[in-house]
């Protein structure tokens, strides 16, 4: 029995990770909607610390990035690395440990944030006990992933695995270096770095967490699932290899653009600008590759909700990766920084790119894993339009709010004093914040529809048993 199990792909764990990912999506987006409402009606915290914006905001970001995003990356990474290596997952018990231990970290981490434990480092808010746990589980994730590649039956390592591999290696490096700290109690530690150095290390981490997790990891998803869904090979494999190396090299330098006009050397800021603009090339190389791949499969767009989501995600990927380098330019950044424009930019990536590509992949994967048709294609199509409308409304509201804030804050009178009071500027933002709340609700409604649709598709089903195919001798590891 066990021998037979060893010859099929380990897909039960993929299903479980997708389930966790969807649950986190609903919970974390709900937390986002709630804090959006608090920005319109501040008394919604009811005087409770744990309901305050300051505590719920990191619960929202950690839940989306580490709960929804990382669970989805683990699921799709495990699914694709087995198939592109033609072997079942290496150390399946360790993979199950990674699956459950990660969920426990995200859950307890969220509770600790509600309790007020917070390092105050953005996207690295969890305190030192969680940092140690994250490092251990992440290394185990790497052992399973690279162990599977090491025992592969075919010689080439497909491009998606390079992106997932870069995600695992770089995030481990960023997490360990940025989290170095001196603990003083179970819930408090002090960073090993101070002042401007702390800021540089933090944004080296923060920007590359966006780069290698929210961009690189999800590009791995694109390179495997887009050809799979479109049933065509990637348009230019050579371009994908060049794009990978250029992406890896350029991204790691771009962090200082978060620290313009701060107490760091000007050349460091300039380096951040140059590398951010260079990033346009590898980012758009992937965009071109993706669009050209799907360009011969337009007819599938009419009928396949998964492909619709993925093509739309590429459009938002193109938008966000153009907007990012532009915002890194100092003369643009002087307007955009510290405004809601940044929030709009982040959400064009998070909703339009990360969530859409993940939703499309789930709509493709779950019916295949369950061995039956999607419960409702109509619901999936409704979800598509809700997601599209919610994302557009969100980013337009935040662009308008952000540009207004930036220009009003820069406006000075003849005496060199601010023309407008900060409080008055913020009070004038209420209509935009209300629009953002509506956008979030629309997006959340679509996500709930997907959760129901996928639940009904999986209901009562077991994972279909799929075996690796025979290896073409031309591909073989000994070829």
């Amino acid at each position: 029995m066990e021998a037979a199990e060893n010859k099929i792909y380990q897909d039960k764990i993929v299903i479980r990770l997708i389930q966790f990912s969807v649950v986190w999506a609903v919970l974390a987006i709900s937390a986002g909607v709630y804090i959006a409402a608090e920005l319109v009606w501040p008394t919604l915290d009811f005087g409770q610390y744990w309901l305050s914006y300051g505590r719920l905001r990191p619960v929202h970001t950690n839940g989306v990035i580490f709960g929804f995003g990382v669970s989805a990356l683990m699921a799709t990474g495990f699914y694709s690395v087995q198939r592109t290596s033609h072997v079942p997952l290496f150390a399946p018990r360790l993979a199950w440990f990674v699956c459950y231990a990660w969920q426990l970290i995200v859950l307890l981490g969220a509770l600790s944030l509600l309790a007020g434990w917070n390092t105050t480092k953005e996207y690295a808010e969890l305190e030192w006990p969680f940092d140690i746990a994250i490092a251990i589980v992440w290394i185990c994730f790497g052992v399973v992933f690279f162990g599977t590649i090491a025992q592969r039956k075919i010689k080439p390592i497909y491009i998606s695995n390079w992106f997932y591999g870069a995600l695992i290696i770089v995030i481990a490096m960023l997490h360990v270096v940025n989290s170095l700290a001196l603990p003083v109690s179970i819930d408090k530690s002090y960073s090993a770095y101070a002042g401007a150095q702390d800021a540089v290390v933090q944004w080296w981490y923060g920007h590359n967490a966006v780069g290698f997790l929210l961009t690189g990891g999800f590009l791995g998803m694109v390179y495997y699932f887009l050809p799979k869904i479109a049933n065509r090979p990637i348009w230019s494999y050579r371009l994908s290899v060049v794009a990978f190396w250029a992406f890896v090299y350029a991204y790691i330098w771009a962090g200082p653009h978060h620290l313009h006009y701060n107490a760091i050397p000007e050349w460091v800021q300039s380096l951040g600008v140059i590398m951010s603009v260079i990033l346009l090339a590898p980012s758009w190389a992937t965009l071109v590759n993706g669009v050209m791949t799907v360009s011969t499969a337009w007819e599938k767009l009419r009928t396949d909700p998964a492909l619709k989501f993925i093509v739309l995600s590429l459009a938002f990927y193109g938008l966000a990766t153009f907007e990012g380098p532009m915002m890194a330019i100092r003369s643009v950044n002087v307007v955009s920084h510290f405004t809601d424009w940044t929030v709009g930019h982040v959400h064009s990536g998070a909703l339009g790119w990360n969530a859409m590509i993940t939703y499309g992949t789930f709509y493709f994967l779950v019916p295949r894993l369950a061995g039956r048709e999607l419960y409702s294609t109509r619901l999936a199509n409704i979800h598509f339009w809700l997601a599209f409308a919610g994302t557009m409304l969100y980013i337009i509201a935040m662009w308008a709010a952000g540009v207004s804030q930036g220009l009003l804050w820069l406006s000075i009178d003849g005496l060199g004093e601010l023309s407008f009071d900060f409080k008055d500027i913020m009070a004038s933002m209420t209509p935009y914040y209300l629009l953002r709340l509506i956008a979030g609700l629309v997006f959340l409604l679509g996500t709930v529809l997907m959760a129901y649709n996928l639940f009904m598709t999986l209901k009562g089903q077991r994972a279909v048993k799929v075996a690796p195919p025979a290896v073409d001798p031309a591909y073989g590891v000994n070829a």
């Binding site: 198939r83 033609h86 491009i159 090979p233 050579r238 190396w245 690796p468 025979a470």
Partner: protein
């Protein structure tokens, strides 16, 4: 100035590396590799 020159040298090396890595492999081998996701299930 030295930091700038050093950075330009590293950048030139990485651009060269990316081009070299991108130019490796025959068209046939790359085409075969690109088909992996389409032929990975029994």
């Amino acid at each position: 100035m030295f930091i700038f020159l050093g950075d330009m040298l590293v950048m030139a090396f990485m651009i060269g590396l990316a081009i070299w890595l991108g130019s490796r492999g025959t068209k046939e081998a790359l085409d075969r590799t690109s088909r992996i996701p389409l032929e990975d299930e029994d």
